[in-house]
Structures are given as C-alpha cells and as structure tokens.
Symmetry: C2
Subunit: 157 residues, 2 copies
C-alpha cells in the first residue's frame, strides 16, 4: 500500500487532466501502456483516486458570482449542526461547506450563483431560515488567481 515515484506521477497527471489517453499517460510517466493501465486501476481500487469529474466554464454558463459566507450559530448543540448540515447539503448552489476553527464564524460556505440578485434571494430564503443562524457575513470574489482541485504530493517523496 505504498506509492512509488511512478504512481505519484500518474496521480499528478490525472489530477491535471484525466482525459489523457492511457497511451499518452504511459509515455509521460515512462511506462508502456499495459503496466500503466494496471497501475491506474490499482490506484482506483486502493482508493487513492476518489472520482473523475468534469469542470465546467462557469461564466459561460451564466454563473458570474462566487461568494463566501461566514456563518455563526447561536448554540453548538448536535441538533443545530445536524439541521444546518442537512440543509446545506441539499443546496445545489453550495459547492463547499466546512466547519472551521475561529472565534465566532463556525461555518465557511462557498456558493456559486448567477448574480447578486440570485444570491440575495438565496441568503434570505435558505441560509437565514436555518434555525440558530445568527451571524452571517458575505464576501464576494472579484478575481480568481488560483482555482484548482489539484493537491500537492511533494511530501510523499
């Protein structure tokens, strides 16, 4: 259950571009197609590769606003958390939601929506309606410098 340099290179390539053919991937990592295919399959089976996804062009799809919402709850009881989690998991506008450390902001939520009007409605109709939500603070993305899903595997070397 240990990864060598070739495995890591395979993972790196697939993180960047999973539409690469097995033949090209094999060449990039210095292997012939068959062992490369076998390694990829193994990495999938061992759970290193979670899933393959397509990333869409947001602005072309009229999704022009990305917002971060910092949310604080009145009480930190299990039922408060459960209710919040359940609601947020069912919002297609929410792409990320984390429980984070820090003074008052319990949750950090990332939302992708068409525009400010949509956002405002979403905030009022959905977030504000969740029991226990007290503080809500929004910030809006003006410019994207990095927007990846690719993680660094350097520490495994």
């Amino acid at each position: 259950m240990k990864l060598d340099r070739t495995d890591r290179r395979i993972l790196d390539e697939l993180q960047k571009d999973s539409s690469i053919s097995n033949q090209d991937l094999a060449e990039k990592v210095g292997l012939s197609p068959s062992p490369c295919s076998r390694r990829v399959k193994q990495l999938e089976e061992d759970g290193y590769i979670d899933r393959y996804v397509a990333r869409l062009n947001q602005s072309q799809l009229d999704l022009k606003l990305t917002a971060y919402i910092q949310i604080a709850l009145d009480r930190h009881t299990p039922d408060r958390f459960e209710e919040f989690d359940k609601t947020v998991r069912n919002c297609p506008e929410v792409v990320e939601c984390y429980l984070v450390t820090g003074q008052s902001a319990d949750y950090t939520v990332k939302v992708i929506v068409p525009d400010m009007e949509y956002y405002q409605k979403f905030l009022l109709d959905t977030i504000t309606q969740i029991p226990g939500v007290t503080g809500v603070h929004s910030s809006f993305v003006m410019r994207k410098i990095v927007d990846n899903t690719e993680v660094s595997l350097q520490h495994l070397s």
Copy 2:
C-alpha cells in the same frame, strides 16, 4: 449556442462522474450513443466543459490539514498584487486563491497540507515573505460538510 435540457443533463452527469461510459451516459439522458457522443464533443468544443480531472483521497495521501488564510496587503498597488499572485500561483499547496471584497482581508487562500507543522513552515517561509503582506489570519477545517466542484445549472431551465 444555446443548451437544451439534454445538454444540461449531460453536463450534470459529467460533473458528477466523468468516468461514465458514453453508452451509459446516453442511456441516462435518453439518447442513443452516437448523438450523445456528438453532443459531448460539441460541449467541449464550445467551451462549456473546461477540463476533466481526477479527485484524490486527501487523507489517504496524508493531506490531513485544510486551512483558509485571510490576507491583507499594506497597499493596493499593481506591483503588490502582481508579486502576490505570482508567488501564490507557484505554490502547489494552494488550491484556491481569490481576491475578495471586504474590509481588510484582500485575499482568501485555501491550502491543503500534511499537518500543522508543515502549515506553520509554509506560512512563515512563503506567505509571510511576500512583500506587502501585513494581516494574516488562519482558520482550519475541522469537518467537511460539502466539498464539490459541481455547480448548479438550474437557472438555465
């Protein structure tokens, strides 16, 4: 250059799982394989699909710490921004970096690293070294409720 219901369903499926075969995808969206393949190709060519990527299992790869860093700059001059952007783009630990609205926090940076020790070193050796960085505030992810790349296309209906 307009998407019908079938196109949107294709995009939705590929966002969730791009490893689906064309045949299965065709069946899901109620098409036979050939027009389905043609539509996917068209969506790629038209730029709706940005790229295909593999998502990895972070904890299995020893990436146990996700952190958000809120960063403020001393001055909002072009060279300050450029220098910051350039540095951050070259950090493999940084998965997201946005310029955001708000009082003092100019940048929101998301970082994925093995542990707190690594994080501390990263902050001191990299972030703090960037000219003009004054305020730095970290929060750490304790629990992930949602961690997707999938965006909602409901507004197109």
